[in-house]
């Protein structure tokens, strides 16, 4: 029989960013299904905007979001903003912080709304127009970048065979005509003269405008399937079976691509609670979890060493996932972060220091091997303070703490 705490912990790891201590207290004694419903019902955060406008914007913006994601009341909506940022992404390597924040607000608006609206808005978002070179693209000599990636990565997937190279070229024409008015607050403008004036064949139908093309993409049955697969993987940790994927895609399509409906279908499924510890924590998840465990601010720049600074994905595919987080470099960096921050942690229960620190970490299913390592550590230092430092640092570097 699985400990109820383990299930609550699992739900918090997947529907929020980690185990915030006040959440564990709040849900003490709740059934997991009640925790799920509570989190689904909670409103979106409305955080105070970041203070941008200085030379520090490139670090301030990621720091700002990390603080928001670390809040006790960060929940499903915040989680979904993060999901969309990892999938329909843009990044600071090419786009300035002000426009990245503008895009962030688009994702906040649609994170649990309708996917079609989200994609329509992102197609003409200034950051996206810079990131994938839509700005200035003309129908005569279109830039293909956005047309390719919106199908390959964002909405349809490469394996689907739904589109061919000719669709990339045709789509690029339909997406042309947009430009960014640098003299007027980077407003997005449309220039009919450089846009498509007659229809082109695209995905088996004809389209002329950006709106047509996005609608056509969203109308493909593969679109619901692609998003359902990505989100199921994100929330439950593994790719669903073909049968399950078809069910989820049907739910999503029948709802008219309502994101909330898809989230509910994934997390209310009985299998959701069984898919515990089946993927590594991403670096953002690991660092936020450590902030909760150590009850301390951890500078965002450490995330650079762990390869996942929010707003700064390595490329248009977002961050590499799952076992690619398991690298010697990340392991070393985790040791560094844990060592540098563990000394100010709370004093542990004298009777059961190991149980105490594991509970704070939200770890209720811990292997004997890990318990043995922690037990060995107890006699190694003299003071209670040092013992707390040691156990916190070791739990942070345990295999279990690196699992989501």
């Amino acid at each position: 029989m699985v400990n109820n705490n383990a299930l609550t912990s699992h739900v918090l790891r997947r529907l929020t960013f980690g185990i915030h201590p006040t959440r564990l207290a709040q849900f003490d004694g709740w059934a997991p299904a009640e925790v799920i419903e509570q989190l689904l019902a909670e409103p979106a955060l409305e955080p105070v905007a970041p203070e941008l406008g200085s030379d520090d914007d490139y670090s301030q913006l990621p720091e700002w979001w990390l603080r928001v994601m670390s809040r006790a009341d960060a929940g499903v909506h915040e989680r979904m903003v993060w999901f969309w940022h990892t999938l329909v992404t843009s990044g600071l390597s090419k786009v300035n912080p002000a426009l990245m924040y503008r895009q962030h607000k688009v994702l906040r608006e649609h994170a649990l709304g309708n996917f079609r609206d989200l994609l329509q808005a992102m197609a003409v978002d200034a950051a996206m127009l810079y990131w994938l070179d839509g700005s200035g693209s003309t129908a005569d000599e279109p830039n293909e970048n956005f047309a390719r990636e919106v199908m390959e990565l964002f909405a349809l997937g490469r394996e689907s065979d739904v589109y061919v190279e000719a669709d990339v070229r045709a789509g690029a024409k339909a997406f042309s005509g947009w430009w960014i008015d640098g003299d007027n607050s980077d407003e997005v403008r449309f220039d009919p003269d450089s846009a498509l004036t007659s229809s082109v064949d695209f995905l088996g139908t004809t389209v002329r405008t950006t709106e047509d093309a996005i609608n056509t993409i969203c109308d493909q049955p593969q679109c619901a399937r692609h998003i359902a697969g990505k989100l199921a993987h994100f929330l439950s940790g593994s790719q669903p079976s073909e049968e399950r994927l078809s069910e989820l895609a049907a739910v999503f399509a029948d709802s008219g691509l309502q994101i909330k409906s898809l989230v509910e279908a994934i997390v209310r499924d009985v299998g959701f609670l069984e898919q515990r510890n089946n993927r590594p924590r991403s670096s953002v998840e690991w660092v936020i979890s450590l902030r909760h465990l150590f009850d301390i601010e951890i500078d965002g720049y450490y995330l650079d060493g762990l390869g996942q600074t929010p707003f700064d994905p390595p490329n248009v595919a977002g961050w590499p996932g799952d076992n690619r987080w398991l690298s010697a470099g990340n392991d070393l960096t985790k040791a560094q972060i844990a060592t540098d921050h563990a000394s100010d942690t709370a004093t542990l229960d004298e009777e059961d220091p190991i149980g105490d620190v594991l509970a704070r970490a939200g770890l209720f299913e811990v292997s004997d091997a890990t318990i043995a390592v922690l037990t060995d550590a107890i006699g190694a230092v003299d003071s209670r303070r040092e013992l707390s430092t040691l156990l916190h640092a070791l739990v942070a570097c345990s295999p279990e703490f690196s699992l989501a």
Binding site: L153, N277, L326, A380
Partner: protein, 443 residues
């Protein structure tokens, strides 16, 4: 059929123009002059004699470095130019007909080219590479190209130009398996924060690390610091291979990574060197510095993979962005070669470049270049500098109006596997792609 230029003719060209005497020079000779491996495609030959192009002069480097003859001492550094490097900007076909028609907005001016012959030359920012000399392979790509970054990266990483999906390891991982010591902490290392698919291996250890700064956190605590000692003991114990959980899955993978990390850190020991080592303070420059350090200590590392974080995906403003990319490559590599010299490794280290694809033959309205097909690849170190393979014709494009590859990238890989490491191509690649001959120097 394309003609082929012999070394003699090339030298004649080079000496024909005043001030251009050093261009072909001792450094830039055509690698092969036999008919099996035509080294230069003249195409329809609207040729511009090199002498009239007023190319920049370059110093003549002494004779090429002779490769160490003991194959087990040979090392490899792989530079990945992510995003798709435009081969026609690295090796500019300024003398080939069609170039300035295709590249109306993004052409490299003839006066900015470091000429190699009357047809092609290196980008003007590659002054050090030009001076030292490189083996430049032309028309490298796949016979069935694809426009997706991720598809083509997967092919390059796995070593399969046709994507028959027959490999669950990476090309560099298989190469490491073939040449490495299974007892070594790592045979191949990728400089980066996430583990790299190209390095997936079966027998030997491979790992990813962005820098060595944090090694002191996991090994080497002082006796008078029992807290840190206890942390390091526990940190290592999580990776104890005997205490492996039978549960499998990611927890076991994490323990395995821990075991590797600790073994690697222990082998490296106190490793840090102060300062920038004379390298640019960029992630690529410092990545090459780490590569030199890893290859210099006796750890069993044979291959270091250094991805450039710079973005080669120049869909817009290509001409504004590209020179900085080449300058980064050139200055960082120059520091690397100077460093190798000081470490006595020049005869042991081969540098190769990779990129998932080249860019469109024709530029777009944003003065950029979209996803294309064939590109160039460079081999540097103990090589016979010069041009290898044929440049794709610019007047005979494929059905999408892109370059037709003249050399499969598996042949490029085969050249490194067989020619540099003595590993038969068939051991690490599909079929047995034929290595190019004559590239590597001998003692």
């Amino acid at each position: 059929m394309p003609a082929c230029v012999s070394r003699r003719e090339l030298l004649k060209w080079a000496s024909a123009g005043a001030g251009a005497a050093a261009v072909g020079g001792a450094t830039w000779m055509v690698g092969r002059s036999d008919a099996d491996h035509p080294s230069l495609d003249l195409g329809s030959a609207g040729t511009t004699p090199a002498g009239t192009a007023a190319p920049r002069t370059a110093q003549v480097e002494p004779a090429p470095i002779a490769a160490v003859s003991n194959l087990s001492q040979r090392l490899l550094v792989v530079i990945e130019m992510g995003g798709g490097n435009d081969g026609m900007s690295t090796l500019v076909p300024y003398g080939m007909s069609g170039y300035y028609d295709l590249r109306q907005r993004t052409a490299v001016s003839e006066t900015d080219v470091l000429a190699l012959d009357g047809q092609v030359g290196l980008h003007g920012k590659l002054t050090n590479i030009h001076r030292r000399g490189a083996a430049v392979l032309q028309g490298v790509g796949s016979p069935k190209p694809d426009g997706s970054h991720f598809e083509m990266m997967a092919r390059w990483w796995s070593g399969d130009p046709l994507n028959s999906r027959s490999f669950d390891t990476g090309f560099l991982g298989r190469l490491a398996d073939a040449i490495g010591d299974p007892a070594a902490a790592a045979v191949a290392v990728s400089v980066g924060t996430s583990s790299h698919p190209a390095l997936l291996s079966r027998k030997v250890g491979t790992l990813a690390i962005p820098n060595a700064d944090a090694i002191g956190y996991v090994v080497g605590a002082a006796d008078e610091d029992p807290l840190r000692q206890a942390f390091q003991r526990g940190f290592a114990a999580f990776g104890d291979r005997n205490a492996r959980n039978a549960a499998g899955g990611f927890e076991d993978l994490l323990r395995e990574v821990r075991a590797q990390t600790v073994q690697f850190a222990g082998a490296l020991g106190t490793f840090g060197e102060e300062g920038d080592g004379g390298y640019p303070d960029s992630s690529f420059g410092q990545g090459l510095r780490l590569a030199a350090q890893l290859l210099d200590v006796d750890l069993g590392v044979r291959i270091v993979h250094v991805p450039m974080s710079e973005d080669f995906d120049t869909h817009d403003d290509h001409s504004g962005r590209y020179p900085a990319l080449m300058e980064e490559l050139d200055t960082s590599l120059e520091a690397f070669f100077v460093d190798l010299e000081a470490r006595g490794l020049r005869d042991r280290v081969l540098v190769m470049t990779t990129s998932e694809f080249g860019r469109t033959a024709r530029d777009n309205a944003s003065a950029g270049l979209d996803h294309g097909t064939a590109s160039v690849a460079m081999l540097m170190g103990p090589v016979n500098a010069g041009l290898y393979g044929q440049h794709p014709l610019l007047t005979d494009l494929d059905e999408n109006n892109d370059l037709i590859a003249t050399l499969g990238f598996d042949q490029y890989y085969a050249t490194v596997a067989d020619g540099w490491f003595g590993v038969p191509a068939g051991d690490v690649l599909n079929g047995s792609p034929e290595p190019l001959a004559g590239i590597f120097t001998t003692a």
